[in-house]
Symmetry: D5
Subunit: 148 residues, 10 copies
């Protein structure tokens, strides 16, 4: 079984058993629901303990649960540019604001990047009388280009 097939099985089982991503995350461990969901969708790893719990919740075999502990081929099975409107909006932000982010981060921090590895994020509901908003917080370590 490949990781892509495992992801398909997880998505099917979740729907069939009436589970939610948040519920699954709560059952897997105390970590971020973003990390756990990403792992179940084939983009992050779980620890062996977390994988065992995920396996129990999702009726996985031992081998399938073990597969969740190996670094996946990240980005596999993802279409770019995104065809789904929800995902595309982030692509659009990047397309329209990317040069601005580069300009302002470099002006503030110097020549370097925001790490996408030493990185964490949150997604929250921001109540608003004119319609609730999606509030996203990102925090990535600034890495200066090494001079040598």
């Amino acid at each position: 079984m490949t990781r892509l097939e495992l992801t398909e099985k997880i998505v099917s089982t979740k729907i069939s058993k009436g589970l939610t991503w948040k519920g699954l995350a709560a059952g897997i461990g105390p970590g971020s629901e973003i990390v756990y969901t990403a792992a179940l969708l084939g983009q992050m790893v779980l620890t062996p303990g977390e994988a065992a719990k995920a396996g129990a919740l999702l009726d996985l075999t031992e081998d399938e649960a073990k597969l969740l502990t190996f670094p996946p081929m990240r980005g596999a099975g993802v279409t770019m540019p995104p065809t789904d409107p929800l995902i595309y909006r982030f692509y659009e932000l990047l397309q329209n604001y990317g040069t601005t982010w580069k300009a302002l981060i470099e002006e503030e921090f110097g020549d370097g990047i925001m790490s996408a590895i030493d990185f964490s994020m949150t997604i929250e509901r921001e109540p608003d009388p004119k319609g609730d908003r999606v509030k996203i917080g990102m925090s990535g370590k600034f890495l200066p280009f090494k001079r040598y």
Copy 2:
């Protein structure tokens, strides 16, 4: 003069006169430095009053300043996938977390998207003893798919 040529002129003048994006933003108005920088980089509009101030700071002709008040062809001149490491990291986040964002936002809000139009954001320095971090905040209105 096209908008792309105007952006090139603005970037050149900024360097030549020793200006900063933050300094330019402060001179243009009380709005977000992200909006103002994006406008100067050819991705957003300025009001006539803001454009006049930008024109004065950047030695633009009247026609050039006026051009800043027209909606640009957003995304023009931007390479995708990004070749620059700073911009690419956001593309990578999208590639690795896009399906996760979709899963969690839909579970919390229902079928819809986070607007990239009714949207605002901030970029800040987050001090950290192990190395300062780039802290990004995004807020976009949730828009449910219309049923009819």
Copy 3:
């Protein structure tokens, strides 16, 4: 079963049972036949009640019907540019008139977009002695770019 496989099954069953999209839509609920057809083709969601009716009409299992209530990966399985002449003509309109639509909508409404989410549409036959015409009506909320 993935959503793409479910769409294939729905299309097969519809042909095999001699059903029509309009007939299916009428059997699913009072909503738009465009929304219902799009849902059956893997691009929109149904409510649980609608999904149950669709399932009955199309001999779906309970899990398959439930799958219709989850937001799909929109655009999955769609080729761009379209190879089919009927779909391509819309792509051609976009290619030839896109800049015109942008110019006229921005002149009338200001800097913003027509929402594709808070959006509805109709398709009708327009009788014409020189040959009937396809009449399409679209209505999308104008969303101004947020200034902040």
Copy 4:
């Protein structure tokens, strides 16, 4: 002077002289502002009389005005997929609803297409207390595939 260069000149002159697309259209003739704007943006033709009027309004040389009467290389200079959010939303509609349009038009009319050549359209403001809407009407002749 190529047609692309002429389009750039027209856009510059329009801004410099403070003209609008609707105003230009009204000055060119009684036809649709969509057709006239598209012609000025390099996608449609004008008649010699219309071109002369457009030339007068936009300070074009005689050769430049004449160029407006020749069929352009349609679609030239247009990026696909669109990078501009306003134009992209139409691309998204096509990506998400294209198969639905095909299904419903074929069910109603038989095997054929909606012509993008024998085609007309309108763009209007649709007042709405929750926010005005963009109302688009399209009418294209149905063309059945010839059997022979």
Copy 5:
């Protein structure tokens, strides 16, 4: 069974039973062998009567024969640019003569197109002592761009 799978089955059965495209066409009806072959290759439709005959000749099930009467997703399964030399030569003609065809058709007919829908064609052997030639005849209705 999808249309692509049906096409594969038809091609296999034709080889296995030692049939020819021309023979199949003659057995299906009095229409053009181009239309019939295209339908069997998944690009055109048959009438119910024609489909029944095709089904009998090719050992198709009733559902498979019915599938031949539905408009296919034209162009599906076709690689562009073509990798096969025979098909590529037409692509090359288009690449080398496309602008010429546009120039001459527009000069003769005005601003418009040759329809690919109200269209018929023939393929014949043209005997020639220096080597026989493939003779192709095409006839498509000229459609002028609508002015409105």
Copy 6:
């Protein structure tokens, strides 16, 4: 001066002097207007004598006329897939009928191709009460794959 620049100059001069492709062809020689137009559009060669006549008609310098006698980089400056509707329709024919052409030509002639080099064509107006038609004739030598 490159060939692309020469083509742009020829197109400009033709419009400015009010010439037609057919008129130019008639002035260049007794050959096909398709060959001559293609040469002026940068896709075919002229003989020195033809080039001299073309140069006289189009106010070319001696070097520019000489350039018309050299094999061009065919296909240079042509966008694929075509964005122009007139040219696109041929692409669509190829996409929808390519496998059919292959099937029927191979069945008639054996394993080989229709040459796009030892090739000639005609474009004519075919009067029709329901609307005149574009009539295209192509003749290409059949080349069998060499067995060795």
Copy 7:
């Protein structure tokens, strides 16, 4: 069974039975091992007699052997640009020398091409004390562009 599946079966069987391409070619007929190998790899045809011998050597069914006598969709299943270093080197030669080949062939032969259909080739080992070399010979008929 499609041709691609047949190619996979042939490759598997060849390895399993310990056969070589040269040995297979010698068993199929007196023709070139290049033609025979290409046919077994899905790019050329065999005569019925050759196909029967190939079928016997490779344990093919009668239908599978017959499939080898039909012109394949050439180029199917081939990745371009090539990812395999051996194949890529030819692509690199084309990229680096293509314009040179065009310049020299046209200077010697006039406006035309080297046929890839009326074409034969050889591959040999060229012993060399500094390391043996691959020696390739190609011979293609020169085809002049037809003037008409």
Copy 8:
């Protein structure tokens, strides 16, 4: 002056002065006309002595001649897949025979490649009563994959 601009100048001057590639090669040195033509077309280097002679023949400045001695960005300005029929035929050979070349070279030499660097080639006219042929000879060192 970039190398691409230099190539354009060389091609222009060659035509203007009525030179040939073979004549230029003979004037540059005793080496292969393929190497010299490739160098003048921006794909290979000349020695300082050769560059001086090329400069004299083509009216180059000293800096331009010096530029010919630096390794160029090979492949720059070359379109792939080739749009020119003469160059495309080599691409087609690669697409149709690439896997065959790989199979036969590996069977003869083992796991490795034919070098495109330690490589030489010839192009000759092969007289033939049925039409002269282009005869190409290639010789590349076999390089085995290093085991370590």
Copy 9:
């Protein structure tokens, strides 16, 4: 069984049996773990003796083990640009430093390349108090472009 399917089986079996790449390499032979891992991942060959040991460790059939001794279609199944962050970083290095590597290698060695075939490499852990580092060593034979 194709090589891609064999690679999938090997990866699955390795996880299921709790093996490591280094452990597998040690069991296969005294060669580089990079070569052995690449072979197991479908990119290099093993000798018959090595393949037999690999087969024993990974429960392969005799045919599967034999398949490991044949040169694979290198690069098959690899996505470019890489979507996985670990692999992408090398792509980024190439994008940002490629022209620099070319400039410095050519300045030092002359016109030629570093072979990727007569090539070896090492990957090691480089302890560092600020965080361990990945240390990579590459050694490729310099191949000068042949002059002839």
Copy 10:
């Protein structure tokens, strides 16, 4: 002046003045010649002091020298896949060994990446009687994926 234009000027001046990359690096500072060459080729930054020295060596204006101190749009003007053989070989290594590097680095270090930012490298000549070799050393900090 854009950065791409500055890079072109630097390359021209270097050739015209007979400078070398190593010589330029030695004149700019004590840092790595790789960093300095990359900066002059538009991919890295110089400090103001270094830029002043580079400006003096290369006859740059003050504004041009200042431009060298700003982070460039890295990767701009670089073609991927590389068309130049020297650069392509690195792309090939990535294509053939990328999955191996991922497998071995993850096995040794855990889930994370080798940084391309906190990264240094060397290029050296490795004398070898069978032909000198290019020796490359890379050292990048290992960054583990953050768990949160």
